[in-house]
């Protein structure tokens, strides 16, 4: 009796091949991270000997971390970023879910023109000056909300959620309505529990976006104590770098060592890495949702 191919014992060569491929892929992810971490823990002499990034550790030197935590610049920026990310994600996901639900229900008030307005933002960005005028005009300059409100609802995420909501069986919602549920209750007790996976993924998109954003901070925040971590990271990485061909007057402030730069990278990446394992199961589920749809 012949067995289907997937029930056969895998060949040694096949397994070795898969193993090698997976090792390579994992290495491509791990090695850069490893190098960054090792460099951040290396002494200046080690970095100098390596001519840059260090791959093989030669002793541990925590001076880079001591240096960046000697002032509250990095910790404060981390706190600002955590607040923006948490607050922003909560606001974004609330607004996007409500808007997507409203726009997914056929017959809701003016849903076509409203949807059109949302989709228009796919095609046309406002440009720097009009955005700046709007944000400063409503008094958000030097306010952390300037990092959240202009990007609070993303049309792409809205479309993803709306498409998901539209695929929920209409009968389910109809029967809830027959049972006397209000729209709020339908959203809260029927739609959201069924859409946890996709909402988690959209929340992750938002969170990563807020965590990585720096450009609005450059435009709107002048007080350094409001700067998010990405802006601080950027300033460490680019310190002392003038435009090519321009000789700036020399300064007495020494440029940060490579170890310090990498230590800031580590500090910036860790919170984002910590979040992933918790969202990962939803992430796989959401990717699989729709995988077997025709």
């Amino acid at each position: 009796m012949t067995r289907p191919v997937w029930e056969e014992k895998p060949t040694v060569a096949g397994q070795a091949g898969k193993g090698t491929l997976l090792t390579l892929v994992t290495a491509a992810v791990i090695i850069p991270l490893w190098t960054v971490v090792v460099t951040s823990l290396s002494s200046r002499a080690t970095i100098d000997k390596a001519g840059g990034l260090v791959f093989i550790p030669r002793g541990f030197d925590f001076s880079a971390y001591q240096s960046i935590f000697a002032t509250d610049r990095v910790t404060r920026a981390l706190w600002v970023s955590v607040m923006i990310t948490a607050g922003g994600t909560l606001l974004s996901i609330t607004l996007t879910t409500m808007a997507a639900y409203g726009l997914s229900r056929p017959g809701s008030l003016a849903h076509r023109p409203l949807l059109f307005l949302f989709l228009l933002t796919f095609l046309f960005g406002p440009g720097i000056i009009p955005s700046y005028l709007l944000v400063t005009g409503v008094g958000l300059k030097d306010n952390l909300l300037a990092l959240i409100l202009p990007t609070a609802v993303n049309a792409f995420n809205l479309v993803v959620l709306r498409a998901f909501f539209m695929n929920l069986p209409g009968e389910l919602i109809d029967s809830a309505r027959i049972d006397g549920a209000s729209e709020w209750r339908i959203l809260w007790q029927i739609v959201i529990p069924l859409s946890k996976a996709v909402i988690a993924v959209v929340a992750l998109f938002y969170a990563v976006g807020y965590w990585n954003s720096f450009f609005n901070a450059i435009l709107y925040l002048s007080d350094p104590s409001d700067h998010p971590i990405q802006l601080v990271l950027r300033s460490y990485i680019l310190q002392g770098q003038a435009p090519p061909g321009v000789s700036l007057p020399g300064t007495n402030v020494p440029p940060p060592t490579l170890a310090i730069k990498m230590a800031v990278v580590v500090v910036t990446v860790i919170p984002a890495l910590l979040v992933y394992p918790f969202v990962q199961k939803h992430f796989t589920k959401a990717v699989l949702t729709g995988a077997i749809k025709g």
Binding site: R44, G51, I128, L133, I218, V232, Q241, G250, N252, P255
Partner: protein, 548 residues
């Protein structure tokens, strides 16, 4: 100064620049009508320039002809109190927008450096310090939105953002009446700025800004690790061929050592490729761009050869953001093209971990070793400081007095306070009198007052950088003789849009050819395309802008 991710950052800048342009095009469609470019001949406005009056504060030990800075071999044991009156007249906090490349220090109220200078000024200056690499975007936004602070610093390379001249007319105070002729004598430090620097500050026939005088006009130097070459019994090159031979001798990939960083710009200088206004020159009455010249072709051939033969560090060939200075300091490359501004801090930092570390710039030379090399450079100011329009006479004068304070030269108490902070708080004095700064200084200093107008027209050293002043001035004294004359000196130009849009693609094509991704034989086609796509338009523009 080449630092990590320089290429990446340059690309990002290029991209952001393009993004900014397109955003503006969408926003108003009014930027630079017809895209024709503008030029102002500031030679015609001598009448409004401030009168020059030299300051007598200390005599330099090594005199170097301007525009390069002279050298001081020792730090004065007693400093002059150059400004006894407090510039502040109770006009309230002066808000300042400036830029820096580095971490942003704490602001007013939690920064002792700011506090001590503000006490000296008699008025509080409150800084908004922006990232120098994205400053063009910030400027575009705040100028477009007319949302500016009392004082604003703009670097010269950002004054070409669209409609900048309009912004100057609309938003910033006309300083002509405050500074022209003898009026400037009220501000003796500003009166000591050379005429050429003030010429650069004229927009639309008016004196619009206080310049930050450029005391280092040289674009590039070719540094080499003297300790490594000495040990190998080799010396610096004096011709292009010697440079190539040197490269062959010191490149040892098996030991992880390569000869060169990306020396594309410096090789062009060696082959006497023109560098004025982005590479234009006048040749028998005609305007020629560098990429059309036989000199450029010869430079390309040389570059292709050294890249092909693997004499350039592979990390830098790939342009993956490798740090040339780090590789140079580690001895992984032996010859590096860099600005002079990076010299002293590299020496100071490396000597702490490698007592044998020695670097020198090669004496300038031309490809055939002839007696007249060419040195690229520009004596145009680096920054311009503008004052907001409509603040009133008293307030404008108060701000100008503060800028005057910031411009106090080496040898004054004001200079030391501006440059190093307060003794005992930000620095301690070594046996050579030179201030040794501490962590608090590193945390609080970000060129705040320096970039306002505080020129640094003095080369000074200390025991932590032995021989630096002598070596630096020896090089500049020689190089300043060969500074390329600029036919458009004193003419402010804003390139036609088509020409400025060609810059990045052309740079990329040069990179491609040099790295062998396109054959050298393609170059005439590339030049023909360049002419068609805006190059000829640029030529006409520069022909018209040429002073008689």
């Amino acid at each position: 100064m080449a630092l990590p991710f320089q290429d990446a950052a340059a690309n990002r800048r290029a991209f952001l620049g393009l993004a900014g342009l397109s955003a503006l095009a969408v926003a108003g469609c009014t930027s630079t009508p017809k895209g024709g470019g503008t030029s102002t001949d500031v030679n015609k406005i001598d009448a409004i320039l401030p009168k020059f009056k030299a300051l007598e504060v200390g005599k330099p030990d090594i005199l170097v002809p301007p525009p390069a800075a002279s050298g001081y071999l020792s730090y004065p044991s007693s400093l002059v109190d150059a400004i006894t009156d407090k510039p502040g007249k109770g006009g309230g906090v002066i808000k300042v927008t400036t830029l820096n490349w580095g971490t942003v220090p704490p602001g007013l109220g939690s920064n002792k450096y700011l506090g001590s200078i503000n006490t000296e000024l008699g008025v509080d200056m409150d800084f908004s310090i922006n990232d120098g690499n994205t400053y063009a975007d910030k400027l575009t936004a705040i100028l477009g939105a007319r949302d500016i602070t009392d004082v604003l610093v703009a670097p010269s390379w950002n004054t070409n953002i669209p409609r900048f001249p309009d912004a100057v007319q609309t938003l910033f105070e006309d300083l002509t009446e405050y500074l022209k002729g003898d009026a400037v004598l009220k501000y003796p430090m500003l009166a000591s700025f050379p005429k050429e620097a003030w010429q650069g500050s004229v927009w639309g026939g008016k004196l619009a800004a206080v310049p930050f005088v450029n005391d280092n006009p040289f674009a590039w130097a070719l540094f080499y690790r003297k300790d490594i070459l000495d040990a190998a019994g080799l010396g610096p090159a004096k011709t292009a061929d010697e440079l190539y031979q040197l490269g062959k001798k010191i490149t040892k990939p098996d030991q992880g050592v390569w000869a060169f960083s990306d020396i594309t710009d410096y090789v062009q200088m060696i082959f006497k490729v023109p560098g004025a206004k982005g590479g234009w020159r006048v040749e028998g009455g005609k305007i020629v761009n560098k990429i059309e010249t036989p000199e450029f072709m010869a430079a390309l051939e040389f570059l292709v050869k050294i890249f092909k033969e693997g004499l350039v560090h592979p990390d830098l060939v790939g342009s993956k953001g490798a740090d040339a200075s780090q590789l140079f300091n580690s001895g992984k490359i032996v010859v590096q093209q860099n600005g002079l501004g990076a010299w002293q801090s590299a020496l100071r930092e490396q000597l702490k971990i490698n007592a044998n570390y020695k670097i020198q710039p090669m004496k300038v030379f031309s490809h055939d070793g002839s007696a007249s090399p060419l040195v690229w450079g520009s004596a145009d100011p680096i920054f311009y400081t503008f004052i907001k329009k409509g603040l009133g006479k008293a307030r404008t004068e108060e701000i100008l007095a503060c800028l005057n304070w910031c411009a106090a030269p080496f040898g004054t108490k004001e200079w030391e306070l501006r440059q190093y902070g307060v003794e005992g708080v930000h620095f301690t004095r070594g046996t050579d009198n030179v201030p040794k700064t501490n962590d608090l200084y590193n945390n609080e200093y970000a060129n705040q007052f320096t970039f306002l107008s505080g020129r640094n027209a003095a080369v000074t050293g200390g025991s932590d950088t032995p021989n630096y002043v002598q070596d630096y001035t020896t090089w500049t004294k020689d190089a300043v003789k060969y500074l390329e004359p600029n036919p458009w000196a004193g003419v402010r130009t804003e390139d036609p849009v088509k020409l400025s849009q060609l810059n990045t693609p052309t740079q990329d094509l040069i990179k491609d050819v040099v790295r062998g991704r396109r054959p050298l034989s393609d170059w005439p086609t590339i030049v023909a395309d360049w002419k068609k796509n805006g190059g000829d338009e640029g030529r006409d523009f520069y022909a018209k802008a040429l002073p008689n």
